[in-house]
């Protein structure tokens, strides 16, 4: 194996995983051989290793050469970037606002307005917000990096509203079958954040309690809840797969609408089952027993959390119900229009 062979193999190692890799290597080898031959005939020297080294040095490092073949030398390309910024702003604003409100509520309900506990809760709350915001940012980047690679170019181009936008569209009825990309991407991001939170950071979901020298943590959900995780994950994943498929195809079809109906029906069913399962919340009389008596009124806190859990679940059911109704309506409307 001569230097040229080794060089070509080295370039191959750094080539992006795309079709025609072997072709690129073959062409590179043929070019280098041509160049060597040319160099030998013009200089009158014999081809030797010194000449190969000279040539390869001029040609450039294997990494550099391999990089020139990378069609996407970036994580999120210029075409998706404005969309990425838009989603990032929306999601970060929503997440930070919700967490700020939660921290505020916690600080007010858990402690009197002064003292170290109050400062502690605010400090930890803000710290939590920063780390959650960073996690959310990472998730959004990851999703867009994947979208950049799975969406066909035509789809990405179609997202450039300024170029495809036609003032006449203001007067036109929107096509009821066209998907709303912003909604889909936002949904993907939130579903992804949900998966990440529930699977990777369940410890964020709960209540921290500080007394003078100790910290107590009561998780929001009990082990009973986490038994449902495979089902929750399956629904979340189905949702993401459907959303990406819709993004690629840009149009609702009867099949995707039925898939949407099934997913929403499954999430409603699951939410109802979870609601009806006893001891699903971690905040129980048991968990409050460990806390110092004086620092907390367990009974009333339990009531508050039970109530807010029921309310959140009810919201989930209502939202899923609306989505389900929209999909059913769309399904009938499409079949009606076709008749």
């Amino acid at each position: 194996m001569n230097l040229i062979d080794r060089y070509v193999i080295e370039v191959g190692k750094h080539l992006p995983l795309l079709k025609g890799r072997e072709d690129i290597e073959k062409e590179l080898r043929s070019t280098l051989e041509d160049m060597l031959e040319d160099r030998a005939s013009t200089t009158g020297r014999l081809r030797d290793e010194a000449m190969e080294i000279e040539l390869l040095k001029e040609y450039g490092s294997p990494q550099k050469i391999a990089a020139t073949y990378n069609p996407r030398p970036y994580l999120i390309g210029p075409r998706l970037f404005p969309f990425f910024l838009m989603v990032l702003k929306i999601v970060i604003t929503v997440v930070v606002t919700v967490l700020l409100i939660l921290t505020g509520i916690r600080a007010v309900t858990d402690t009197p307005f002064m003292g170290m506990d109050f400062v502690n809760i605010i400090g930890r709350g803000l710290g939590g917000i920063v780390s959650t915001a960073i996690t959310v940012f990472g998730n959004i980047v990851l999703i867009f990096a994947i979208l950049e690679r799975v969406l066909p170019d035509a789809q990405i181009d179609a997202m450039k509203t300024d170029e495809t936008w036609d003032p006449a569209s203001l007067a036109k009825e929107p096509d009821p079958d066209s998907v709303k990309r912003g909604e889909l991407i936002t949904e993907i991001v939130f579903t992804f954040v949900g998966i990440a939170l529930l699977n990777l950071f369940p410890e964020i979901l709960g209540m921290s309690y500080f007394t003078q020298d100790k910290m107590f943590f009561i998780p929001m959900f009990s082990a009973e809840f986490f038994k449902f995780m495979p089902w929750i994950n399956a629904i979340f994943l189905a949702q993401i797969v459907l959303d990406i498929y819709l993004l690629r195809n840009a149009l609702w079809t009867p099949i995707t609408r039925v898939a949407k109906i099934l997913i929403e029906a499954a999430s409603i069913a699951l939410t109802v089952i979870i609601l009806r399962t006893p001891n699903i919340i971690g905040f129980t009389a048991e968990s409050f027993k460990n806390l110092p008596e004086s620092s907390v009124n367990g009974e009333s806190l339990m009531k508050i959390f039970n109530l807010s859990f029921s309310i959140s679940m009810a919201i989930v059911i209502i939202v899923a119900g609306i989505e389900l109704a929209k999909a059913v309506y769309g399904l009938f409307k499409t079949s009606y229009r076709k008749k």
Binding site: K26, E27, S30, T31, E33, D38, Y59, T68
Partner: protein, 115 residues
């Protein structure tokens, strides 16, 4: 230093825009990568290999070029030639180029006279 860097960047940008036209114009007869590189260089357009080869592949993916492997002198070479679609595009590109050149000539001549 900064000036020469920005000059280099602008020159690079200018040349980058021209290379597609240059390549399409030279591939009415089939050429392999290195022979095309030399053909361009002999006519005064130096193109970096790292630019030319990926560009050839991109133009082929876009359907503007066709390629075929041939075995010559015991060495396989990939020959490129302009496709039917490329042939349709080339006159339009030439016209665009002529337009740009004449507009810029007039603009720069006026600016010269104002000096």
């Amino acid at each position: 230093m900064a000036n020469s860097e920005s000059l280099d960047n602008v020159v690079l940008e200018l040349r980058r825009g021209v290379i597609v036209l240059a390549v399409l114009s030279q591939l009415s007869d089939e050429q392999y990568g290195y022979s095309l590189l030399k053909l361009l260089s002999d006519q005064g357009l130096e193109v970096d290999q790292g630019t030319l080869y990926p560009l050839l592949r991109r133009l082929e993916t876009q359907g503007l070029l066709e390629s075929v492997w041939k075995l010559e002198e015991a060495r396989p070479r990939r020959y490129y030639i302009i496709s039917a679609e490329g042939k349709k595009l080339l006159p339009k590109l030439k016209k665009e180029w002529a337009g740009i050149v004449s507009v810029m000539d007039i603009m720069l001549a006026k600016q010269e006279r104002r000096k």
